[in-house]
Symmetry: C2
Subunit: 91 residues, 2 copies
DNA sequence: TCCTTATATCTGTATATTACGATATTACGA
DNA sequence: TCGTAATATCGTAATATACAGATATAAGGA
């Protein structure tokens, strides 16, 4: 079993989720979209940290941001990521 | 949504899988156990690298090694890890 | 245009991860 | 005990990641 590009891609999806903050964010966004300000408040972390974590999730196609005036609302758009998080959160 | 220890633990499970070599190893071990020598050959990587990757998987309870004489055969023992890998490998 | 709010990006720093060769450890037969 | 095969561990250098403050960018109303 030699490593094919396929494993690399899948590992990268997992890596994006493999961080407590990001996992929490994705889990929270699974049912309803949310703006950065709210996420920042809920996580009780600096806004810049949250923005960076969102950027990682975005770059892997896990979440998508939708601009609403001065705000951006994020939602989960990746099916596999949803399934993984659901699986993880179910005992 | 504040981060609970729960997310940390789940993120660590993902992190162990979030590497192409380790993902490949776990996938390969899902159906039949295998010794280090064979894994090393299949992956075409140095034995020490493989041993270290196996150590990470072991430390997270994903795989288990069973000594058979001079050999150690590894197998997947973590249900969640199995489910995640299965999910990932199915289109 | 200016000011305010919301958010992304940049920068610097500390820490973690990865890869591999060298070496230590374990098991076993002669 | 010695030699060999199998495997784990150590040491090191390179690279990636995480975090947070400072600042840039985008949106909108006065």
């Amino acid at each position: 079993m030699k490593i094919e590009g396929n494993y690399t891609e899948k590992a990268e999806l997992l890596k994006a989720l493999a961080h407590p903050t990001r996992l929490c964010i994705v889990h929270g966004l699974m049912d309803s979209e949310c703006n950065v300000n709210k996420i920042t408040g809920c996580m009780e972390m600096p806004q810049s940290t949250i923005s960076q974590q969102l950027a990682i999730l975005r770059s892997k196609g896990i979440i998508e941001g939708r601009r609403k005036g001065t705000e951006i609302c994020y939602s989960v758009i990746n099916k596999k990521a949803r399934e993984i998080v659901t699986l993880l959160m179910n005992d």
